[in-house]
Structure formats: structure tokens, C-alpha cells
């Protein structure tokens, strides 16, 4: 399982944004928008996605001064993103289990679109996995996403989630097993 490598934004830009430079913050926004959007989409679904993404970046800008430029920016940004997602899940408990995606059929999920343009490039599997992930609890979903999709280390996840490494391992184990079992049971055509 190769860890995904992502470029990090330049420190100069972070320092400028810390000083309240909105233009510099725009660069950060452009740089991370898709990743944040993706995380939020996975965590809370489509319904509150835009609002949550907006809140993430507002919180980030407001607390930029707290960021230590010696550390990884994305890990810090991810922490805020997760906090916002969990806040949304708490405030709107129903969206974790009854997101609009679940009520749609898989063909629709696979070609989820905004306006007349395709939102996801991927095939049906993406929709199915998305569907399956929604059955996981928020913590397991978050751990699964961070480890398998974003490539964070267990130690980083434990910091972001504020829990022990053993807890992260247990949740990751449960999530991987559950997603795979659901996939094989309900969509056997994906069985190798």
C-alpha cells in the first residue's frame, strides 16, 4: 500500500496568510480546495458539503496564527476539516446515516453531477464504495479515509483524532474488514 505523496504549499505563502494576506490565503485555498472538498464529501455527503468546506476555510483563516510553520500544513488543515465534519455530523445526526446519496440508486451515484457536468470521473465502484463507507460509523469512516485514501500514518491519525494508536488500529481493522465484506456480499461481481 503505497503512501500517496502530495506537494506541500510553500512556507512563504503560509507566513503571508498568517499575517492576514487574503491573496496569499487564496493561493492556499486553490491549492487545497479539492482535497478538502473530497474529505468533506466522503465524511458528510453532498447535502452540507459546500457549507462545511466554506466553514473549514474560514476556520483555517481565522486560526492561521496558531499554525506552526515548522509542521505539516495539510495535517493541521485536515484536523480542522475533521473537526468541522464531526461538528456537522453532531449537529445533523441524520445526515450520517440518511444522506441523500443513500436514497439514490448506484447508477445515479456513479454519475453524480453538478449542473450538466460530471462530478466524479470514476466508475460505478466509486459510488458503491461511497455507499458502503456511509454504513461505517463516523470514526471508522474517518480512519479508513485517512489511512487508505489520504495515506496518513497511524501516529498522524491518532493525533488528528485525539485517540490512541491502538484505537486507530482497531477502527481501521473494523472498517477495512466491513467494507470488503459488504463489497463481496452485495456486489460479488467485484470478487476476484
Amino acid at each position: 500500500m503505497g503512501k500517496k505523496q502530495y506537494a506541500e504549499i510553500e512556507t512563504d505563502i503560509l507566513v503571508k496568510a498568517q499575517a492576514g494576506d487574503v491573496d496569499a490565503f487564496r493561493i492556499i485555498y486553490d491549492f487545497y480546495f479539492e482535497r478538502v472538498n473530497h474529505v468533506v464529501m466522503r465524511m458528510i455527503g453532498e447535502h452540507w458539503r459546500k457549507d462545511a468546506v466554506q466553514e473549514v476555510f474560514i476556520r483555517v483563516f481565522k486560526s492561521m496564527h496558531q499554525f506552526n510553520t515548522q509542521k505539516k500544513f495539510f495535517t493541521w488543515l485536515y484536523k480542522i476539516t475533521m473537526n468541522v465534519c464531526f461538528d456537522y455530523l453532531k449537529k445533523n445526526r441524520h445526515i450520517s446515516n440518511n444522506d441523500t446519496l443513500e436514497s439514490e440508486n448506484l447508477d445515479e451515484i456513479a454519475s453524480c453531477s453538478i449542473g450538466n457536468q460530471v462530478f466524479y470521473q470514476d466508475d460505478e465502484l466509486f459510488g458503491i464504495v461511497n455507499e458502503l463507507m456511509k454504513r461505517l460509523g463516523p470514526n471508522q469512516r474517518a480512519v479508513f479515509m485517512m489511512r487508505d485514501i489520504e495515506g496518513f500514518e497511524i501516529s498522524e491519525i491518532s493525533q488528528i483524532m485525539k485517540c490512541t494508536k491502538s484505537t486507530v488500529r482497531a477502527q481501521l481493522h473494523f472498517a477495512r474488514k466491513a467494507v470488503r465484506n459488504w463489497l463481496l456480499e452485495e456486489y460479488p461481481e467485484y470478487k476476484r
Binding site: Q18, G115, Y120, L125
Partner: protein, 175 residues
């Protein structure tokens, strides 16, 4: 460990997330068990496939829309310049509430004590300027200085040897 036990461990083994000891046990088992090796490959492929899914492609106009929505709020944020990251400020330990209370109490006590001290000074006995008239040359070779202080209840009497010079200058220094 039997195969079922090992298979359960494979979900973390695929990404080296097992504790060292368990990792070694699984490794040893995989060397001799073909079934578990197949299971390992299957789990790894499934999880890798899920992880490799493409990211959503977001339209630029949506990105602009979200930015424009939050821009007014960003502009409202007070310039964080003054609160910019400062290793000295950021690393300082926060004084808990009871710490501040203790400091406040201390300040109050100091204020009260100093106030009392000031009052004490205000009521200190005022000794009038002594003159030679206050000096009484008594018998037995003793000189007496006898005078009334600012407090009517207190009268001071000093006794000196008669050979002690009590001229006007010396009387001034008696204070």
C-alpha cells in the same frame, strides 16, 4: 495462531500497521500457508483498489462560488498580524484561572497593607520642636526634657546626664 486468526490480522498486515510481534507471527505463518497468502493478496487488492479511486473533479465556478461566499467574512477577520505565530508567546504556559485569582488576592493584600502603613504614618506622634524652655535641670545631676506630643494622652520625658550638652542645636537633633 490458526488461519482464521491470521486472516483477521491481514487487514492491518497489508499496510504494516500490526504491532511488531504480531507482524512477525503473521509473516511466519504466511511462509507456510498458501490459503492465507491468497487471502492476503485479495484483501490487499481490494483495499488498494478502493484507495486508488479518483478524486472528485470540482468545477472552477463552484470553487469561485464558495470563495465569493466566504470572502466578506474573511475580510471581517481582524488582521492576525498582532497575533502572528510567535514561538515565545506560543510556548508560554497558560496560567490557570486560580493562578490569576491568587495574583489578584496578593495584589489586594499588598494594597491593604500599604494603605494601613500610610494611615499609620499619618497618625504617628508629632513631636513638637523643642526649645531650651523644655529642658529642666533637675537635681541629682540629671537633666530632664519634658514635653507634650501631638497625642494629648502621651507626654515624653527624657532623662540625660547633666553633663550632656543640650543646647539649641542638640535639641533639634533629638527628634
Amino acid at each position: 495462531m490458526d488461519c482464521n486468526h491470521i486472516k483477521d490480522k491481514l487487514y492491518l498486515y497489508i499496510s504494516n500497521d500490526l504491532p511488531k510481534r504480531e507482524n512477525k507471527a503473521v509473516q511466519q505463518h504466511l511462509r507456510i500457508c498458501e490459503t492465507c497468502r491468497l487471502e492476503l493478496n485479495d484483501i490487499r487488492d481490494t483495499i488498494t483498489e478502493i484507495a486508488a479511486l479518483d478524486r472528485p473533479v470540482v468545477l472552477d465556478d463552484e470553487k469561485e462560488q464558495v470563495w465569493n461566499n466566504m470572502l466578506p467574512e474573511l475580510n471581517l477577520v481582524k488582521s492576525p498580524v498582532k497575533r502572528q505565530y510567535n514561538p515565545f508567546l506560543m510556548n508560554r504556559k497558560r496560567v490557570p484561572v486560580y493562578g490569576w485569582l491568587a495574583v489578584a488576592m496578593l495584589l489586594v493584600i499588598i494594597a491593604i497593607v500599604s494603605e494601613q502603613g500610610r494611615e499609620g504614618n499619618d497618625t504617628a506622634l508629632q513631636i513638637p520642636a523643642l526649645t531650651e524652655n523644655d529642658v529642666v535641670h533637675a537635681e541629682n545631676e540629671v537633666t530632664v526634657v519634658n514635653f507634650q506630643t501631638s497625642d494629648p494622652k502621651i507626654r515624653i520625658v527624657w532623662f540625660f546626664d547633666s553633663d550632656f550638652s543640650l543646647d539649641a542645636e542638640a535639641l533639634k537633633t533629638l527628634k
